[in-house]
Symmetry: none
Subunit: 254 residues, 2 copies
């Protein structure tokens, strides 16, 4: 964990440094806030600890500037000796991730440092991607090669289903069951929805993204790791490849 420790004004942060180092946490102590900004801009830290005397406007500005550094994700923790409650609230609202009053227990300070660092990592947006198609589950949006593509609700859910089950055949009955809670329409509607979905994708310049598996369903194949070119590698039809004449066995998802 890389920690940048600095202070504003004439605050000696030596005691804080001693407290942290005594808990086996290495800090980089830059006494001048100006230098600290340069430092944080050049190198990357997990957290910035700011030793303050009061909640001055200069301090609030500094918090804002430190947070804005490096893709605005570095957490800032403020330590101070004495501070009014309203000032603490002010600093928190201004962007400080935590405010700790000194003297503080070393264990707590370290745990708070870890907590602040842990929080800022891990922004995962649920995006399914297969080839040029990206589907944002949270934002309910689809892009093909970066271009946004409009989808109706059912089309979206259908594409979501196919992407979740990529590389395996999805049967029409499965789609019907997944798309409708109850009151399922005729199975033919699935064909129509597939057709409409294909038309949407074709409108974005993407053809044959959803493949038809005859008498089984549909499939979206992941094309990454292109050791073999799937377009050319599709044999017309291996005549004797299917020993079972009527039932097609294979990777069929329920």
């Amino acid at each position: 964990m890389r920690i940048l420790l600095t202070s504003l004004g004439a605050m000696p942060a030596n005691d804080v440094e001693a407290l942290l180092t005594s808990h086996a946490i290495a800090v980089e102590h830059i006494p001048s806030a100006e230098h600290a900004q340069l430092y944080a801009r050049t190198y990357s830290f997990d957290i910035i600890v700011l030793h303050l005397a009061s909640a001055s406007t200069a301090a609030i500005d500094l918090i804002g500037r430190l947070r804005a550094i490096e893709g605005r994700s570095t957490p800032v923790m403020v330590v101070a000796r004495q501070m009014a409650a309203s000032d603490q609230a002010l600093l928190l609202d201004a962007g400080a991730d935590d405010v700790v009053m000194l003297p503080s227990d070393g264990k707590i300070l370290c745990a708070r440092l870890r907590a602040a660092v842990r929080r800022t990592v891990g922004f995962t947006r649920s995006v399914l991607q297969v080839g040029p198609v990206e589907l944002d589950m949270a934002g309910r949006s689809v892009t093909v090669a970066g271009q946004p593509v409009h989808m109706s609700a059912t089309e979206f859910r259908l594409l979501e289903l196919l992407l979740l089950r990529k590389n395996s055949v999805v049967r029409k009955e499965t789609m019907l069951h997944a798309l409708y809670d109850n009151d399922e329409p005729e199975i033919k509607s699935v064909d129509v929805m597939i057709h409409r979905l294909r038309k949407r994708l074709a409108g974005a310049g993407l053809d044959s993204f959803i493949a038809t598996v005859w008498a089984a369903g549909y499939i979206v194949r992941q094309a990454d790791e292109p050791a073999v070119t799937p377009t050319a590698a599709l044999p017309p039809h291996p005549r004797g490849a299917t020993p079972a004449p009527r039932r097609i066995a294979g990777a069929v998802t329920q």
Copy 2:
């Protein structure tokens, strides 16, 4: 801001509830931790406040389970009356986002709540900013392009909800639950509220800030940051499918 308040064991959290409500923060108080888990699984909250007596293993388990609910990492704040430093550190390392000792100043508690919530959704200050819109969670004020815009209480909470959930679709049912503690009105009221909120923003010269996602809800999208997308450039494809509608409808980005 949607807050779930619960406690472990026989801890009455009524004083915490009173403290928060006295600061105009609405909480949902579920006395039983078991029920609270079910509740958090069903609805989505911005933060879970957990009233503890001590750092028991049950408490640590509960924190882990609450955090893991529904994929979305809901922040958990622990409030307690007295606790050893090592126990506080334990809870923080177990996944708690903040630990506050009671009695605490209401201002600080609220500011810490705001800080914990905004961190987990990607904001850096308690002033939520998306495009020209700035919403001050602490000051309960809204500005559009620097100009203050008056909002009613419901409109403010609705906008706050949309901003906290930026880039993800908010369903109408979620809004209904977030806007009303009990006695929910009909779902159609959400349409009207959105309409009124849009009219406020339009009065400040801002159009199509809140986009409709058909059959799903509403969304506020943040224009993507200057991060360039070096996607393989596809030749411009002929498209006549999207004739640029007057009103943004459906799952279309931007």
